[in-house]
Symmetry: C2
Subunit: 134 residues, 2 copies
Amino acid sequence: MEQYKEYLQSKGISPSYQRLKILEYLDLHRTHPTVDEIYTALLPHIPTLSKTTVYNTLSLFVQEGLATMLVLDNVEARFDITVHPHGHFTCTQCGKVYDIDVTPFVHIPNTIDGHTIQYYQIALKGICKDCASH
Amino acid sequence: MEQYKEYLQSKGISPSYQRLKILEYLDLHRTHPTVDEIYTALLPHIPTLSKTTVYNTLSLFVQEGLATMLVLDNVEARFDITVHPHGHFTCTQCGKVYDIDVTPFVHIPNTIDGHTIQYYQIALKGICKDCASH
DNA sequence: ATCATTGCAAACACTTTGCATACGC
DNA sequence: GCGTATGCAAAGTGTTTGCAATGAT
């Protein structure tokens, strides 16, 4: 908990209990959680928590670079604590999302067609290992 | 118009006027249009058109492989007539979306970590040529 | 006459906004 | 005490659903 507090402060974000818990959740659950998943998971620990706070906090984190908003479908936004760039594979059968290390397959330059690339996301779709074997 | 009719029939889709016009729009406007853009553009030509029909038709096209649903943000879905795979660059300043040929930079195998990859999308973000020069 | 397509209106689901309350230095 | 963070409720936005009207063969 203490390391999260220092991390937030180092980014100029005042470390409220809600923010600490949301950051901790993102760090401990690298499962591309939705707002609702985070909210539901933390509610027992923070009974007064509101979804607005989860939304506020996540957009603050994204803005400050602590988290990344993933674009995997147009239904619900998903969030990752910011780590090295990686792809996301969504199984079209079971809907599970897997992290994929795409660095062996992708080498995006800093500039393409005169546009400056700041970051990118790769969304892969198909049938996952588990579904294929059933 | 005749070529669209034949194309739909070859896919087993009955070529209603609405479907023909939506397909034509996708073919002539390769600008990743949203449902609303398609609807608004066609309304003068089909005054009775409803958004439901645009939604219905697009999901039929996606299902039959005639179009692709893009996921560029978590706000609105965008659609492309199905062509060779390419990336999409969104300018974070002006919001414009550019097609990017990523084939030189990306080589995704058919299988990764045991998962079967059917298709993928690459969403790039940054500052576009135009915005950089202003 | 039958079946598919269309289109209105209502329902839905996720997200944002407005504003009053509570918290922390 | 004052500025920020929180959280409820309401509004907003994109999408889907139910169902009746229309159209095509």
